[in-house]
Amino acid sequence: MSAETVLEIRGLHKYFGPTHANKNINFTLKKGEIKGLIGENGSGKSTLLSQIAGIYKYDEGEMLLNGKPYAPANPLDANRAKIAMVTQELGVVDKLPVGINVFLGRLDQFAKNGVVNLKKLNQAAAQVFEKWNLPPVPLGALMTGMMIEQRKIVELARALSVEPDILLLDEITQSLSLNNRNNLYALIKRLKEMGKSVIVITHDIDEMLAISDSITVLRDGEVVGDVKTSETTAEQIRYMMVGRNISGDYYRADNKVDYQDEVVLKAENVTIPGEIEDVSFELHKGEILGFCGLSDSGIHSVGKAVFGLSKITSGSIRLVATGEEIKSAPDAVRRQMAYVPKDRDNEALMIHASIHHNCTLPSLDELKGSVGYLSPSKLKKLSDDVVANMSVKCTGIGQTMDALSGGNKQKVNLGRWLAKDLKVLVLDCPTRGVDVGVKSYIYGLMKKAKADGIATILISDELTEVLGMADRLVVMKDGRIIKTIRRDEEFTEHSVIEVMI
């Protein structure tokens, strides 16, 4: 190990129960190196960083920090070793003020006999903000109601206050506005010049190519590539991530805009304060209408709005056939609409309940007989059919959801909706956290739904996915629609990103 190496990981393994999240990871980080870590959802990158940061303990293998064995028991330990991380989940406590949030867990540094010296603490916090040129956030204000960007900045301040030798950033850029992102790049560069190292996780390959010195690619828990940025291209990275060329039969093979004339759903000037503004579009029968944008673009809010889950302050979502407005989720379900939310485990599925209960819940209205009778045999048949049609790997419909893999969960999730007679299907990141095989299966399902005349809204963080599947693509930014592109026009990543940024 050279004198330049600050962190070395050898043969690391991490299990979550029977899941092998990190397999035989070998990884080196030099002093003053900016390393990008990239991989699809579920590839194990957050897990890896979390172990370096002391959030999880690794099961096998070893970590060497400056040549000495390193096994942090908790994040505080890691901080003492001058390693700090900004995690993906929002990591602040709302009810407490900014200053306290920066130093939470380390308050004893500013306390005597248990009593905190607020002046000293706030001074120290202010110093951190100043030193790193972070946009100011009022230190005494409670964090309730602050926007995501400010929360991220506070978390960044917290990490920087440790004076880290290694800074770990997990998908932080997507929460930042453009100029703050540039500030972040400058900050990372500064750390590099100070001889500190940074590991950055981001989904944006181009961003990664721009700021990193080297890139490590993970796939299915393993390291599949470790390259110098100057010696690689976006294509190569993508190939390593997925393992094969993203070819035609994965997504759609055609370049035609292909949908019927009949308008099924109309959104007119929909506004949800703080989320989307003046959004209007038409959804046609048999169409796949894609929505994409950066974080805070409002694309996820559109999905919720269409399904009647959000309070719309002006404008309307209307089903053209009957002219009725969709005002609530029960409305939407009654009108043969379906919604597959992004957060599968918390918003879509009851994970401690059985496959059976999850399958039948959206269809209880249709299955009921006279006097509201829900026949157990009819319910069972529905669940059996879903499991069979989707080839769900399980021990039976009585098995609880949390025993299934992500891909199988998503099969149940989608399958139970597709078992109904649908007019509109709203999908939000339907292939998130799902392995490649199931991904392609889901794309097949989408194509079939399209052929059956179902109108689909596809919201996704993966640009390649929407480009691969959509007839038209709506690009949003800051809550507004910027542009709508058709499949037979300039339908490339380049043209889209131009507009997105």
């Binding site: 959802n41 579920g42 979390s50 609530s328 989720a329 485990d345 994970i351 209960h357 006097v371």
Partner: protein, 334 residues
């Protein structure tokens, strides 16, 4: 293998608990508990609990609680009886009690669903606040005796079929219609239920209304059995019913652990405890209350532990990322 083992454990807890309790008291009372007369008393006492429980079960299934059923019972009974006697139309006892019960339930349901007041704060406040008002009413009106015309309702051949019919209807609604399923879904994960199109506010209001109506029904049965209204009508009934539901193995968070048979078994258990303690020589409320308190804690612990264990076993082949953590008490009631 172990999974099946744990599912079975959860299902048989209520049976085992009841069997143990029953056996214990039968032995301790030297058989006095199982005399024909006493069995009759046991059945009478469990009837009210079971009726109210069949309504409260909807509320518990959703993860809430209704501790106002005791005072609701008293209020419905007093007002129902008063209207019946004042108008001379004695049969009015039945609809009036049910309607008063429903109104209280509507109040509860609206505040919990639309105004987001935590159910236990609200219903405990009612428990304390309304109790005094009912006492005042009773002092003003005096004890009201069941008129001769209605005494026929206490005959076993009328009372038991009435009870069974009501119970059958409530069982049907809970186990075989949307109302029960939706309530269970709300208890499992309210956000998921909402996103799957379950009408949340409507279901919450419905659950409390059902709970309230059943409190009214409990009032009717109470009055019939005792022969009139009394100062202790409905006292501690809410705790007894809640205990019946939890002793039956239903989780505090409700969900799919809520089942009618559990409530029924739990009702027998709680009635046996109170009755049994009285027979073996401890009729004082402080003894039964302490026993109930301890038992409740124990059963809550056991049910929770067995639910946790079966969940840990289940967590398996999943390519979960740390940022896709399963919902961990995200909706927990602290």
């Amino acid at each position: 293998m172990t999974r099946k083992h744990n599912i079975k454990l959860q299902t048989i807890i209520p049976f085992v608990a009841f069997a143990v309790i029953f056996l214990f008291f039968t032995i301790a009372s030297k058989g006095r508990m199982v005399t024909a007369r006493n069995i009759g008393i046991l059945i009478d006492q469990s009837m009210v609990i079971m009726l109210i429980g069949s309504g409260m079960l909807f509320v518990v299934a959703q993860g809430s609680i209704d501790l106002s059923v005791g005072v609701n019972l008293a209020l419905s009974g007093v007002i129902g009886m008063w209207v019946a006697l004042a108008t001379g139309v004695h049969i009015l006892l039945i609809p009036v009690s049910l309607i008063v019960g429903a109104i209280v339930g509507l109040f509860n349901g609206t505040l919990v669903s639309k105004l987001k007041v935590p159910s236990f704060v609200l219903t405990i406040a009612l428990l304390i606040g309304v109790r005094g008002i009912v006492l005042m009413l009773q002092t003003k009106i005096g004890t009201q005796y069941l008129p001769a015309s209605l005494r026929i309702l206490n005959e076993p051949y009328v009372k038991i079929p009435m009870f069974l019919v009501i119970l059958a209807i409530m069982t049907y609604i809970f186990e075989f219609t949307k109302a029960g399923r939706y309530s269970q879904a709300i208890g499992e994960n309210e956000t998921v239920a909402k996103f799957t199109g379950v009408p949340i506010n409507k279901m919450k209001i419905l659950a409390f209304v059902l709970s309230g109506i059943m409190a009214g029904a409990g009032a009717i049965f109470s009055i019939i059995t005792v022969g009139g209204t009394s100062q202790t009508m409905g006292s501690f009934t809410e705790m007894k019913t809640a205990m019946a539901i939890f002793l039956g193995g239903v989780l505090v968070t409700g969900g799919y652990s809520a089942k009618i048979y559990k409530m029924l078994l739990g009702s027998f258990s709680i009635t046996t405890i109170v009755n049994g303690l009285a027979i073996i020589g401890y009729p004082e409320t402080e003894v039964s209350e302490s026993v109930e308190g301890v038992l409740l804690l124990l059963i809550l612990l056991v049910t929770m532990l067995s639910a946790e264990r079966s969940r840990k076993r289940e967590k398996a082949p999943s390519d979960k990322e740390p940022d896709e953590k399963a919902v961990e008490e995200a909706t927990s009631i602290k």
